[in-house]
């Protein structure tokens, strides 16, 4: 026996479903943001309450800093060389090959160096952190830590956070340096650009402010990578699938946060630049 469904009640049901679904999405999003903010605040609170022990902090500094150096240096070198390849044809047509030093160096120190170092760190270190902490969560090692009177945030998150925060400026400087070297190598030795003009143009256009703004930006990227990755690891779903998802999410979310922060900090840095040097050249 099929009954005729009132079209008005069907529409009402559809609207109710729509409101309920969106309501759930909003509530879940707000809850997730709140939980993340609480996690960040607890990490900050523990960082200032009691400094982490040397034996927990040194391995993290080694993993984040020393072990990331080769991949960051390699990325920086190749990006510098690719920039030279991409820009040479354009600049040659205008007869401005000697300006390549300024463009490559500026692009690297203000933008590509910090962002690429951060993306490499998110991929190499962030995912590994999320997977490691996720496995510890799934196998109850984090519960074991808590049950023995150690605070898991103090023991596991604070050292990783400090390592990312303190090592990423060094990695960014390394990416900048290798990129500039790679760009110079390709421009001078492959395309035959005059080395003296290459450097003098780079020196004229790129100042300490530009280098420092990139390094400054990277500190925020490092903090975001550590927080996002540790949060994903701590809130990992059960099983191998959960650990895999935590690692993937940690990279994707870190990448999105890096891009958003890059834009916001870029706008803020430009505003600061304009207020200090109102007659200076506009960079953006």
């Amino acid at each position: 026996m099929s009954q005729a469904v009132n079209p008005i009640s069907r529409t009402q049901n559809a609207i109710n479903d729509w409101i309920r679904d969106w309501g759930r999405v909003v509530v879940e999003s707000v809850t997730a943001i709140g939980a993340f903010a609480h996690f960040v605040l607890r990490t900050w609170a523990w960082m200032f309450t009691r400094p982490p022990r040397r034996e927990t902090i040194l391995p993290n500094f080694y993993q984040v800093g020393v072990q990331s150096l080769p991949v960051i240096a390699l990325t920086g070198t190749f990006i510098g060389m690719v920039l030279a390849v991409q820009s040479f044809a354009q600049f040659e047509q205008l007869g401005l090959e000697s300006q390549m030093g300024a463009v490559i160096t500026m692009t690297l120190v203000r933008e590509l160096g910090p962002v690429l170092a951060a993306v490499m760190l998110a991929g190499r270190v962030g995912s590994a952190m999320a997977a490691e902490l996720g496995t510890m969560r799934v196998t109850e090692q984090i519960d074991a830590l808590a049950s023995m009177g150690s605070n898991p945030i103090h023991y596991l998150v604070v050292p990783r956070f400090l390592a990312c925060l303190m090592m990423i400026p060094a990695l960014t400087i390394m990416a900048d340096f290798m990129g500039v070297a790679g760009g110079h190598f390709f421009s001078v030795f492959v395309y035959g650009v005059d080395s003296h003009h290459y450097w003098s143009n780079a020196r004229d256009f790129v100042g300490v402010f530009d280098i420092m703004s990139g390094v400054f930006k990277s500190i925020f990227f490092g903090a975001a990578i550590a927080m996002v990755s540790c949060y994903q690891g701590f809130h990992c779903a059960p099983g191998a699938e959960g650990v895999g998802q935590a690692a993937t999410k940690s990279f994707v979310y870190s990448f999105i946060v890096i891009l958003i922060m890059d834009l916001l900090i870029g706008i803020a840095v430009e505003a600061i630049y304009q207020s200090i040097w109102p007659d200076g050249p506009r960079l953006f």
């Binding site: 607890r42 109850e140 090692q141 519960d143 074991a144 808590a146 049950s147 009177g149 945030i153």
Partner: protein
């Protein structure tokens, strides 16, 4: 009455919920000092959740858990860390830190909380491992190189390192052969004999329950209970479990599937 007043753990009308799923409803339990309480019940009934809420790892939706008269869930991070030094927790799969050696695992609580020298820590680790029947040669091994029984014993040694007042065992014999299960049971008894500890053992191994319990508490899955029915089906000495009036308790104790077989056959016919 004196023992009643001297409760080390008091659980008062505790309910736990994960998302929309209710696990525990209004559970109350009083554990006097020195008693060994065995929590039994079928898989998924909430035994481990109850135990984790006792030591503050799971926050109840309502109710109160007192440890030595202090509400565990009103403590801040620092106070909770301090109280937890008074617990020893033996996890189902031992939960050893796989990045550390056995020696580092057992020494971990001492390094975190006690100001011992390196030599003192090494001596204490060796003696604690000997207590659970493990030779000093295991110290340099990684947890992955150990058998299940050895991992459980290392977990026990680690849990006992700070001489806790309350030792909690989560499924201590699950996954072990009968002989190793009995070794673990003997270790639980020996621990109680050697130290004045209160113990909570979560298990569905009736041999363990009969051997180590002063008191047995059986909880039942909430989804199988009627509204308003008490989730604790049995709370008494192990000797009286077999004669319990509740059919569900007898069924569990004797390992009988009962009406669950009916559920299976119904599912079969519906396919």
């Amino acid at each position: 009455m004196a023992a009643e007043d001297d409760a080390l753990v008091e659980v008062q009308r505790v309910s736990v919920q994960f998302g929309s799923q209710r696990i525990l409803r209004d559970i109350s339990l009083r554990i006097p000092r020195g008693q060994t309480v065995v929590l039994i019940g079928e898989s998924g009934c909430g035994k481990s959740v109850l135990m984790k809420s006792i030591i503050g790892l799971v926050k109840p939706a309502s109710g109160r858990v007192e440890f030595d008269k202090r509400d565990m869930h009103s403590l801040n991070d620092k106070e909770l860390s301090r109280e937890r030094k008074r617990f020893g927790f033996v996890f189902q799969n031992a939960a050893l830190f796989d990045s550390m050696t056995v020696g580092q695992n057992v020494a971990f609580p001492l390094k975190q909380h006690a100001g011992y020298s390196h030599a003192q820590i090494e001596e204490l680790v060796i003696s604690k491992l000997a207590e659970v029947g493990l030779p000093r040669t295991v110290i340099l091994k990684k947890p992955a190189e150990l058998s299940g029984g050895m991992r459980k014993r290392v977990g026990l040694a680690r849990a006992l390192m700070l001489n806790p007042e309350l030792v909690v065992y989560d499924e201590p014999t699950t996954g072990l052969d009968p002989i190793m299960s009995d070794v673990i049971n003997e270790l639980i008894l020996r621990t109680r004999r050697n130290n004045p500890v209160t113990s909570i053992v979560v298990t569905h191994d009736m041999h363990t329950a009969r051997k180590v319990a002063d008191r047995v508490v059986m909880i039942y899955p909430l989804v199988r209970l009627d509204e308003g029915e008490d989730q604790v089906l049995y709370d008494g000495p192990p000797e009286e479990m077999d004669d319990c009036r509740d059919r569900r308790v007898r069924q569990f104790v004797h390992g009988e599937a009962g009406e669950r077989l009916m559920e299976m056959s119904l599912e079969d016919t519906s396919v």
